[in-house]
């Protein structure tokens, strides 16, 4: 370990770091802007200056940038000395020349890194007498607000957006003190990671637009540790609430999962919590289909009386907590519990759960994925189904660059140097999907195939690596081009130190998953291999592990109900119309005598219930979800649920008690439920380790949800009553609904928000990490429930896909904005999602004589046109695999479409074209909210003027 001397004190520091990291790791405050732990150093802001002396005799030294200077043994430095601190103050002073000082009206105020650094360097007086430069702002879509005048040109935004996240439509424009960060023209930022600009920008240039529309300051927000509902990655979030409204989502650092970044579905989709269609009271359905609100107790006794009148079955939910699903299952018994996924989906998720616990490959965390040096992606469009994972793959692609850099003895943080050195060289990534993906730009090869052919490709690679033939696959039957590709993929994976295979359930094709497993198994003979299998929802894996394949399948349930074997059905947080074709769900709900639905938002299933129970969302309840890695993670109520909303687990616990079911008296508290679950379900036995129980105290105190500066608590309700109500008591968790308590030294699973004296922005996280960019002290939140097993035998390869002349294979195509149920209820996300579409390749579009925006009638094979057909808008995607037709999965209007079905397509002649969609265009003129003129706000053209 090198020793360095800072202002005369000797410190041992880690080798290979730069001085800035070293200082931060030592707990010393060295201000910075352009450096970011995930993005490394470029040395543009010059804020992290220190003085370095050549030797003991040298008294003058010279200024060096902390972030650009590697630690060297014996280095003599000054952080506090006058030269360094004067220089750092000058940097802030000059950054302030053009900064508008509009903190009081700036959305960043109170959590602004520029504010923090300004205070830190002690800059106060203004000497500049000149005019400030001003810029015109751009319309960047419904998510991000742009205020260029606040820019300090640290280049972080473009480095994140372009270099880190692979976006293309944001760039540094113009030069000298006119540098402008924006788009070529006004328009929606196209990257699904754009929201991170809010946190990456150290000042208020890019801010959260929905928050801005109903603004509260960070210090006025009440927060709790939470988990993103948006997909199965399970990013950790820190939602902020005020006045009973969920105001915004910020990233909550978890080194193993999301690190510093979220995707926009998660950041902006949580607005569903504030939806007008939320249920507040229990309701009984009237003759006319309307609901009569009833008291919670009455609702419970009515549900209890339903339950006592015959056989009860239940449908759980992959978006409800493990605890709620557990209680529901316990209420009705394992065989009457349907885990709440459609037939094929359930099989596949169960298949994934089984594979992960038996394969020799590792189920990697997102962080581990970043270490992959050769990647094969089979049939999972992760950019849309697990966006944060796609972002990790993008970092993995850079391992090639890091390898080149290491040869030249460049440290990984020397970002600019490494990018110049490696140019466009990436670690090998091979992608086989039904159409193009947003990772294609870094892929060595990206190929579009029908699902069964993707599986055959995967199996062929496995056979090539292991040398063992795969049943039903002869290499000679492969197309010669594909045969070559198989060889290339196999040798790239074999040559890798950390090969990774990615697949998942989204194509609803089990052979695809099996083939990915076969590849991973083949590799596992010789190297540590990673196998990342995506599942659809935030708790898909948790429910599958709970169910263990024992429960009743959806189709069997429909049959059973049809035969009159079941009288009452309880549906937990699940819109069944998203699970199975409309007719089947209609059949189920038409036949059931009593339907009880617990959900937070109105939906088609809920509208058919006899009794509806209002449940708290993720933001108002506690629970545990298991992500696709197999990591159980806890979320906590951010605020008290309004009216009669209760956490699902609470409704079910109370129902059990009303019914007098055995053991339910000991299931009144969350921790009790979780305990019981961990005892009953072997696969979930470790789940209690996901987070501390409600008795946890931080030096004797509960953990505050509100920051110490939380203001107006006494006045908040003054319009109702001047008497301040007692703060609600949280009996279920170690958190309190107040600002009293200690928020330092916490286990990471209990960190509600980041704050440290002098560090009001999210960058304060470095104060809690064991090193910059490292794990939170004490370990990353969550617990892994799955360990590798003994190995999985290879399955049969499916037959090759035979395309037909008259029919097309229906394949689901996912959209980060639109395919997910809950985020679609957030207005900003819905605006971006647009309408459902049918995706055709150019050949098929030509044959049908349709172009983008035309309508096509999709008829399911073997069904009368009247009942089985849907009309969808066409989107032409030249990359779609031959013989296939895609549909935007999960979007309203596609409920009756069954992936894997053969369909007949016909041009819809009387189709009314819609207005161009927001997402698909750069042209602001099609967007009513956009300012009318194009181009950006600095002078373009003759730049000398």
């Amino acid at each position: 370990m090198p020793t360095i001397y800072i202002d005369g004190t000797a410190y041992e520091v880690d080798e290979g770091k730069n001085l800035l990291e070293a200082c931060l790791n030592l707990g010393l405050d060295l201000p910075y802007f352009c450096w970011h732990p995930s993005m490394g150093s470029i040395g543009s802001c010059r804020q992290c200056a220190m003085v370095q002396y050549q030797n003991e005799e040298d008294t003058r030294g010279r200024i060096v940038m902390g972030c650009m200077t590697p630690v060297t043994d014996g280095a003599r430095l000054s952080l506090q000395g006058e030269t360094a601190s004067e220089f750092r103050e000058s940097v802030i002073e000059s950054l302030m020349l053009n900064h508008p000082h509009d903190c009081p009206v700036c959305a960043e105020g109170g959590e602004c890194h520029l504010q923090d650094m300004t205070v830190m360097v002690g800059h106060r007086d203004r000497n500049y007498r000149g005019k400030k430069n001003t810029h015109r702002n751009q319309y960047l879509g419904p998510l991000i607000n742009h205020e260029m005048n606040r820019c300090i040109s640290c280049y972080r935004c473009v480095r994140f957006y372009r270099d880190y996240a692979g976006g293309t439509d944001l760039a540094a424009l113009a030069s000298h003190d006119h540098v402008y960060f924006g788009r070529h023209q006004d328009g929606v930022l196209q990257s699904e990671f754009a929201g991170n600009l809010v946190e990456v920008c150290p000042t208020g240039v890019f801010t959260d637009k929905p928050l801005l529309n109903d603004y509260s300051r960070k210090w006025d927000l009440q927060s709790a540790p939470s988990i993103c509902f948006g997909c199965a990655v399970g990013c950790n979030t820190s939602p902020g609430e005020r006045y009973g409204k969920l105001k915004r989502i910020q990233n909550r650092y978890n080194q193993q999962v999301n690190g510093y970044f979220l995707c926009d579905r998660g950041r902006f989709g949580a607005d569903f919590v504030n939806s007008d269609t939320r249920l507040n009271f229990a309701g009984v359905r009237q003759e006319d289909g309307s609901y009569q609100a009833i008291k919670a107790d009455d609702a419970l006794s009515q549900v209890a009386s339903f339950c006592q009148q015959g056989t009860v079955a239940a449908i759980g939910s992959p978006r409800a907590s493990v605890e709620a699903n557990y209680l529901l299952r316990r209420l009705v018994g394992g065989i009457h519990f349907c885990p709440g996924m459609g037939g094929p989906e359930r099989t596949l998720v169960q298949q994934v759960a089984d594979i992960l616990s038996t394969t020799r490959a590792i189920s990697p965390s997102i962080h581990q994925i970043e270490s992959a040096d050769a990647i094969l992606i089979l049939g999972e469009d992760v950019s849309n189904t697990a966006p944060r994972l796609a972002l990790a793959l993008r970092q993995a692609a850079r391992n090639k660059a890091l390898e080149l850099a290491a040869k030249m003895r460049l440290e990984p943080w020397m970002d600019a140097a490494i990018r110049n050195l490696s140019q466009d060289q990436y670690s090998p990534i091979f992608i086989a999907g039904v159409n193009q993906s947003r990772l294609d730009d870094i892929a060595e090869t990206s190929i579009s195939l029908a699902p069964d052919d993707i599986a055959r490709l995967g199996f062929a690679v496995a056979a090539e690596i292991s040398g063992n033939p795969i049943p039903n696959l002869s290499m000679d039957s492969l197309d010669p081009g594909l045969r070559v590709l198989v060889g290339i993929i196999a040798s790239a994976l074999k040559a890798a130190k950390n090969p990774l295979v990615v697949s998942g359930t989204s194509l609803l094709n089990s052979a695809v998953i099996d083939s990915a497993t076969a590849v991973a198994e083949a590799l596992a003979n010789s190297t540590e291999t990673m196998l990342s299998l995506s599942v659809p929802e935030c708790n898909s894996l948790g429910v599958a592990m709970l169910d263990g394949g024992e429960g009743i399948g959806f189709d069997a349930l429909v049959e059973s109900v049809a035969q009159g074997n079941i009288d009452t059905l309880i549906v937990l947080e699940n819109d069944l119309y998203r699970r199975a074709p409309t007719e089947e769900v209609d059949r189920l709900l038409g036949n059931i005598k009593q339907l009880v639905v617990l959900d937070s938002l109105d939906n088609a299933t809920l509208s058919k219930s006899h009794i509806a129970l209002p449940v708290a969302t993720v933001a108002e309840s506690e629970g545990t979800w298991v992500n696709s890695e197999g990591r159980a993670q806890r979320y906590y109520p951010v605020f008290i649920a309004e009216d009669d909303r209760l956490a699902s687990w609470q409704w079910l616990s109370e129902l059990g008690q009303v019914l007098g079911l055995s053991g339910f008296n000991e299931l009144q508290h969350f921790d009790q439920v979780e305990q019981a679950c961990s005892q009953d379900i072997a696969a979930l036995s470790e789940i209690t380790a996901a987070a501390p129980d409600h008795q946890f105290r931080n030096r004797g105190l509960k953990i505050p949800r509100q920051p110490t500066r939380y203001s107006g608590r006494t006045a908040m309700r003054a319009d109702v009553s001047v008497h301040e109500p007692k703060q609600p008591v949280d009996e279920e968790t170690p958190l309190s609904f107040s600002m009293e308590g200690l928020s330092v030294g916490l286990p990471s699973s209990l960190m509600s928000y980041n704050w440290s004296p002098g560090w009001n922005s999210n960058q304060s996280i470095q104060k809690f990490q064991d090193e910059a960019g490292g794990a939170i002290k004490g370990g990353s939140a969550g617990v892994r429930l799955i360990a590798s097993g003994e190995g999985v035998d290879a399955e049969f390869a499916p037959d090759a896909f035979q395309s037909s002349d008259s029919e097309r294979l229906l394949v689901p195509v996912y959209r980060v904005f639109g395919s997910d149920e809950l985020s679609y209820q957030a207005p900003a996300i819905a605006e971006l999602a647009g309408d459902a579409q049918l995706i055709l390749n150019s050949d098929d579009a030509g044959k049908l004589q349709v172009v983008d925006g035309d309508g096509v009638i999709v008829s399911m094979q073997g069904r009368a046109a009247a009942e089985g057909s849907v009309i969808l808008e066409v989107m032409v995607d030249g990359s779609l695999a031959n013989g296939c037709a895609g549909f935007t999965a999960g979007m309203p209007g596609t409920e009756s479409l069954v992936p894997g079905a053969m369909v007949i397509l016909q041009k819809a002649n009387d189709w009314q074209r819609r207005k161009p969609q927001l997402i698909a265009t750069d042209n602001p003129s099609s967007n009513p909210n956009a300012p009318s003129s194009g181009s950006y706000g600095v002078q373009t053209g003759v730049s000398y003027v």
């Binding site: 760039a171 030069s175 070529h184 466009d424 983008d852 373009t940 003759v942 003027v945």
Partner: protein, 171 residues
């Protein structure tokens, strides 16, 4: 961007422009490496680089318009606004300044009726200052189109822009 639009913007580059860009691409390992050459080629054909031209070049080089805009707006001699038939690059750097270029500039402005960044009403000239033209021994100097004019004074200016005052042909 749909394919339909893509083809449209490709058409925006002329065959000659594409030919010249391809010559540059031949010795450059990445398409985006020809960005500056391509901008200059298109500008040499059209006088300036319009938004449409910029998008067309970007598509041709597999770049985003943003990336190319970043390049285009970085350089002094890429014009993102229309310019006159000839650009007057007037050197205002130190040696020319010492030798009185400010007075010469005033003379030009009076003569042409334009200030820096402006184009004459007849669209003939756009006046732009340029950093040191490397002819300091003959200061003050300027370029009109491709021609360097040295040792400028009022008379020279009158000569160079003679036609504008009806005194003969411009040089």
């Amino acid at each position: 961007m749909s394919e339909h639009q893509l083809i449209q913007s490709d058409i925006a580059l002329s065959a000659e422009e594409i030919r010249q860009i391809d010559v540059e691409l031949a010795h450059i390992p990445q398409k985006s490496g020809a960005a500056i050459d391509a901008l200059k080629i298109v500008q040499s054909q059209r006088g300036w680089v319009s938004d449409e031209a910029l998008v067309a070049i970007a598509r041709y080089l597999d770049m985003s318009p943003e990336a190319l805009e970043g390049v285009a707006t970085f350089y002094n001699l890429i014009y993102r606004q229309p310019v006159g038939d000839k650009v007057v690059l007037f050197c205002d750097s130190v040696s020319c300044w010492i030798c009185g270029c400010d007075g010469v500039k005033q003379k030009i402005s009076e003569k042409l009726g334009v200030d820096y960044g402006e184009t004459t009403a007849d669209n003939q000239y756009t006046l732009i200052p340029v950093p040191c033209l490397g002819a300091c021994d003959k200061a003050p100097v300027m370029m009109v189109g491709d021609d360097l004019h040295t040792n400028l004074d009022d008379q020279k200016i009158d000569q160079i822009f003679a036609k504008r005052t009806g005194e003969g042909e411009d040089c």
